[in-house]
Symmetry: C2
Subunit: 221 residues, 2 copies
């Protein structure tokens, strides 16, 4: 494949060391492995090769693959979730938690300024919190398959809509006319941050489009 | 006028007791009175009579007036900003302010959970804060004029857009086709809460419209 190609992929991601599956696209396998999450939307995922929709190691591997090909690839931390950093382990006075009426417990995750950290230990009035990504420092093994390539303009728009907001043919109408695309949604709210991501990616990866109209339809009840 | 009529109004609002002007629509008078605020957009205001776009006392008076008429009306607190309530005066320990690194000062306004309060006094480690609306308990005197009535469908849409989001012909395109209206904006963001208010008011006060399409246009740079 080439950078900028629109493809659908399937994968199973495991931690090499433990063999633990941390992410996968196949619902059946999830059920079989006993890790099925009913709130998660399984299925092939649309991505743009080389656009950072997946971790670097996967993006690089995809560029070497063809449609229909399946590979097993080992990805080192620096091309996955980075190395573990000691400076991301912080000591926080237990009193800080008490002030906010939080009882710190080892193993629990807390969120400080939007960054999630795991409580590692509590002793001497201090709480040790690890703000490293849970997959930092881990070598990953991915079973990855490119199931199809998308070349149709309208389908490319849907790839981007699906990736960022899980919108599909049932929830969003896409109309293309010359260099303009209109995306129409109803009874759905898209955060403006996501709307901007969608528009940015359309302009970056779909050269034919110069204007995007994002419409929300409201009907009188 | 009747409830539901779309009109443009001009006004000067004064506190009866002190004669102080607290709100007005005319830029020239604001300058003459030495209360001009360069950040405020002066000019006639579009409202819907009886829809709560203005205080109750004004809404009731407008219903008795005709287009072009000018009146001076006295409005008692219960039809303006309500009576003052003693239970909205709170004593807050000074330590609460210190915890958040705020130095309380008499006369300053603070915001707690989105409600604004004025610091009235500080003594014995306690800060007295008045959360009453600054105009609560005040009898108001309004000089009010209905400058014109709007009957055109498209202009009615603009009244609502202008009232809620200061949008006008230059910043929003309005297209009406049968029972449908499309509102198109570019390089402007409207909070979804305001978007919903606009749509709700269109459906409530413009019976002819059954569908609203709110579009944001993005162009490639």
């Amino acid at each position: 494949m080439q950078k900028g190609d629109f493809v659908y992929i399937k994968y199973i991601g495991k931690i090499k060391e433990s063999g633990e599956i941390f992410d996968l696209t196949d619902e059946e396998i999830a059920k079989k492995e006993g890790i099925y999450n009913p709130e998660f939307k399984y299925g092939e995922i649309p991505i743009i090769v080389g656009a950072g929709f997946v971790i670097k190691g996967l993006d690089e591997e995809l560029e070497k693959m063809n449609v229909g090909e399946k590979r097993i690839v080992e990805i080192l931390p620096e091309k996955a979730f980075g190395e573990r950093r000691d400076d991301l382990i912080k000591l926080i006075p237990e009193s800080e938690f008490k002030k906010q009426n939080i009882e710190p417990k080892v193993g629990e995750f807390i969120n400080i300024n939007g960054i999630s950290g795991r409580i590692v230990s509590i002793s001497g009035g201090r709480v040790k919190v690890d703000f490293n990504h849970p997959l930092a420092g881990k070598t990953l093994v991915y079973e990855i398959e490119i199931t199809k390539q998308v070349t149709d303009l309208k389908e490319k728009i849907y790839c981007i809509l699906k990736y960022f907001s899980n919108l599909d043919e049932a929830t969003a109408k896409v109309n293309i006319e010359n260099e303009n695309v209109e995306i129409e949604i109803k009874d759905i709210k898209i955060a403006s941050r996501l709307k901007e991501e969608i528009v940015k990616n359309i302009f970056t990866w779909i050269k034919e489009i110069k204007k995007v109209k994002f419409s929300e339809v409201f009907e009188k009840k």
